[in-house]
Symmetry: D2
Subunit: 340 residues, 4 copies
Amino acid sequence: MIIILKNDSQKEDVDRLVRFIEAQELKINEVDGTDRRLLCIIGHTYNLDIDILKSFKCVADVKRIDEPYNLVSRENHRDDTVITLTEAAVKTQIGTGLTFIAGPCSIESEEQINSIARKVAEYGAGILRGGAYKPRSSPYSFQGLKNEGLRMLADAGKSVGLPTISELTEISQLEYFDDIDIIQIGARNMQNYELLKEIGAVKKPVLLKRGLSATISELLMSAEYIISSGNPNVILCERGIRTFETATRNTLDLSAIPLLKLKTHLPVVVDPSHATGIEELVSPMALAAAAAGAHGIMLEVNDNPEQALCDGQQCISTEAFKTIVEKSKAIVELIGGSKH
Amino acid sequence: MIIILKNDSQKEDVDRLVRFIEAQELKINEVDGTDRRLLCIIGHTYNLDIDILKSFKCVADVKRIDEPYNLVSRENHRDDTVITLTEAAVKTQIGTGLTFIAGPCSIESEEQINSIARKVAEYGAGILRGGAYKPRSSPYSFQGLKNEGLRMLADAGKSVGLPTISELTEISQLEYFDDIDIIQIGARNMQNYELLKEIGAVKKPVLLKRGLSATISELLMSAEYIISSGNPNVILCERGIRTFETATRNTLDLSAIPLLKLKTHLPVVVDPSHATGIEELVSPMALAAAAAGAHGIMLEVNDNPEQALCDGQQCISTEAFKTIVEKSKAIVELIGGSKH
Amino acid sequence: MIIILKNDSQKEDVDRLVRFIEAQELKINEVDGTDRRLLCIIGHTYNLDIDILKSFKCVADVKRIDEPYNLVSRENHRDDTVITLTEAAVKTQIGTGLTFIAGPCSIESEEQINSIARKVAEYGAGILRGGAYKPRSSPYSFQGLKNEGLRMLADAGKSVGLPTISELTEISQLEYFDDIDIIQIGARNMQNYELLKEIGAVKKPVLLKRGLSATISELLMSAEYIISSGNPNVILCERGIRTFETATRNTLDLSAIPLLKLKTHLPVVVDPSHATGIEELVSPMALAAAAAGAHGIMLEVNDNPEQALCDGQQCISTEAFKTIVEKSKAIVELIGGSKH
Amino acid sequence: MIIILKNDSQKEDVDRLVRFIEAQELKINEVDGTDRRLLCIIGHTYNLDIDILKSFKCVADVKRIDEPYNLVSRENHRDDTVITLTEAAVKTQIGTGLTFIAGPCSIESEEQINSIARKVAEYGAGILRGGAYKPRSSPYSFQGLKNEGLRMLADAGKSVGLPTISELTEISQLEYFDDIDIIQIGARNMQNYELLKEIGAVKKPVLLKRGLSATISELLMSAEYIISSGNPNVILCERGIRTFETATRNTLDLSAIPLLKLKTHLPVVVDPSHATGIEELVSPMALAAAAAGAHGIMLEVNDNPEQALCDGQQCISTEAFKTIVEKSKAIVELIGGSKH
């Protein structure tokens, strides 16, 4: 970490800053430039609060050299984290190879989820997804079947031998997730720190979606919240960021895949359905995610999108899902696993 | 609302769509263009789910003509909403004239909050602010004094006769807000819909901050969540949006003030401290907010920013606050109130 | 196109608007909604100036249903445009299969460009690239070898039998492009309309890079400028857009590939080198572009990046290039050409 | 400037880097951190090419401490640059007090420009504006009256005693600007470096508009191009940046005013008309710009916007202009000039 001192800073102010830093068992190397004086802080600075440093009267600016996270960092944990879902009939892993997470946007009935579950299981899904608590931007939109939906999802998963995932939008819902294998934290809750801390107390794997305007570094900081609260089983999910472009719902940032794999040991999953919001774009983006090295691809699959109570315009059919699985697996084999 | 049909759509698919729309007591006017067929939907469409419409097989695209909100809309509520905080010794109103919300970023001690409270009250603040539950991007940063901090804030407010405001980050904290007059919902929780619904059940005024990447329309939809859940006392707060520019922490969107005043009857407040993150920019942006017609300005004020446990770099002194109040009030008088 | 009338509009104002539209041989269908009156304009509206419509006193808003372009549109030209560079020893095509455009960021010497040219030709490049006129954000940075560089590039291309491409930054440079096969228009000139019109008068193929903050629609409008000025040989290039994320130089928008292929018949090329600015990300993003259906991939290749006078941090070696070509071609074969 | 070395870098590679830096008469201070080795470069580094540094094999990253510009910097030129237009009957200055630049978006006829010129001169404009070469996103839109329009503008300016400004979109138009007092470079040409260099050879004042996605630093770099080419008379113009928000055409970044005034000595002007694209927002944003300390406000004024051939929806009437001038001048007096 580099602290740039103000040109007119007083010796006593700088001394106070130096004492503050040294009290945290960090060393300082002072550099006198032509126009500037710098303090280079030596040691582990991830837990140093940059805002407090900037509040010192003598500080003009602070530049981080090291990352502001620790537990999620690849530097401290060279091997990939692989999460194994042992309770399922089929042993599913995320973090090695390519895992498919598939199912409807919303769970709407027993019949609907069972029918989709059978097909995606047959066609190669490793995990069954389905929304029960739906965060909707309008209070007048369908908000999901809630705990009843979760029960249907768990039953469907068991009947086809697949582990399940669903989104939790408030900690009070946790009791209904007993039979769900992975808890999803949605993009709009990525910086709901209270929720992250509480999820950190749960031992269940968590799929953490990147916020609409969250940087890669902020996504990792949110994962750091969960892990530092006790839960190391975090899966990261790129699902599109908000940009000026409105032709797609969001802009899918596939470069996040190789970048995250450089910076962290956690598995990286991609959701091309929500990101694009356009059915015709889902397949090319899924294949691209496979080619870019994703550990998982999350897809909205529904054979009857016209009855879908949300997001039907981006659903793919089970037949389209089958083709994506086949081509993606061939791509992964061809490029030599999820490594390049 | 305009529905654009696919060129190759089947009669039975269009009929099904028409029945769906008519079942919601809306009328349809069909228009045959050269290359396109359109359905113009006539009636109140704010509660029509655009995603469901798009899921119909025959639909190519949907364009809203009316806004997706109702209760917050200026069209249905011509007069400005004015919120009065009657319990305070000084009667404070938001929604008419210009109200100052001032205090430290974080409450750190009785002495600190009392000392600041005395000065901001003397210099023209209408509401005392102070953070107790702090949402911080790093789990290693100071997270606030929590309920103890809220107590200090309430006491300080009472001793100087000012109503108080503080941020609530999870509904379970609500019991500690009994003596706090306004509940703040932070930018990162603006789309935490569960929290919005629960806050809607509380009768206390709510200051809702615009999310980092939330559009004006989404901010209004979040306010609609609160009002439709039963609480009409919502204050909107522009606090900077995330853009590509990194020279300021966020980009303060002052055009949101007159735009929101066109679209909604709710009061509009601006927070130039968080938005810019640079002390020297706070005063010009506060005066600009006053000139743009804001109903309130929210400022981080602290006479000893070097001891501030967060965001010291954007704190202004009580003396600077005094000058801003004087100049802002003169500007408002000059431009003829908060109307242009 | 839908025109939303103001609620209080006068009959004579609406009549004037109606006459204006009808004078352009367009028909109007009026729709009376509950709160709004709409005019649906029927006919080809791409050349209708939306700004002029909005200037009419009675107009509240205008929504496009049809695209604002014509010549570039897939609707009017179903077959893919394939550009053939016949003058080269090797017949290179863009718009069918997958074409590699490779070479150094900047041409620095005869020796450098010849050495790279030999290797990329051997390893599968279809076109040789090299910068001669370099648009640099600092006036103090190396600005390229200019016309001398172009001559070296043309010679190198001829000696290895590859057509060549280089960026033109001002129309006065055109005379030096006689022996260059494709003219590149850079991202910062994508909306330099004077240049686009002049390039439209040239018959040579043009590779048009998407501007840093240009929408897909604006990119197509810029291509429309070139084609409507007489030059139909336009290649589109996605090279990353500017977003809030700073971990990569820009955010590569790979969804632009399938989206552009839906909307236009023009070939779509991707430049993962500039977009990411990080060597380790170039290969995964190149393979992802192939999987997403790109017609071409443009890469900075340089065996001695340390001597590179610009952008060395994103250069890949000729060996890395060889591997990318092999894997990408296998991916294209696997997914069944550039179609999905 | 701080260079972060790769952990595994070889001594000979670091030595080569050190020699490269020292050859540029800069000193190096090496700092050994716990996990990192840093080189702190001491001296004037604005002309050091960060891309070349990053291309060295041993370099992991480079962080600038000093700004990448020199001539535009406030550090090297403490006093505000004030530009005086002496040829006009009325002596107009930009860079002190508040100057109004007003006129139609497009010049459409002698009658139109003369009529507007008379009124804006009477109501307090310091400079007459009018577009003759119009950069339009569609090739089918009105492109301006070109040199004929410039002549009308110059005549109108002379007849009312006001200096004039118009946009130049290509250097070949320069001959027609003989009687125009200020050359405007539009947002889409802000990084057209060839044009900037050529404009640098002209002695006439230049108003440089910020690009749609240009950072403050990039705007200053473009000004540095002009000044380093010989023309010190540069006026900067904030005109809105592109963000995710679509309710306004662009997002007017008023914080750019005080920020630019900290960083540079050049005058700062704001254009609220183009930025918002909404007539009702122009006045509040103009007053806000005055309150934020702008040196100038640029406004589209037209008494008959319905006949406007472009951008009529954001035009204000001459009466509205009169009110803005009066209120803005009162605000500037109140806040104590353009300083805070």
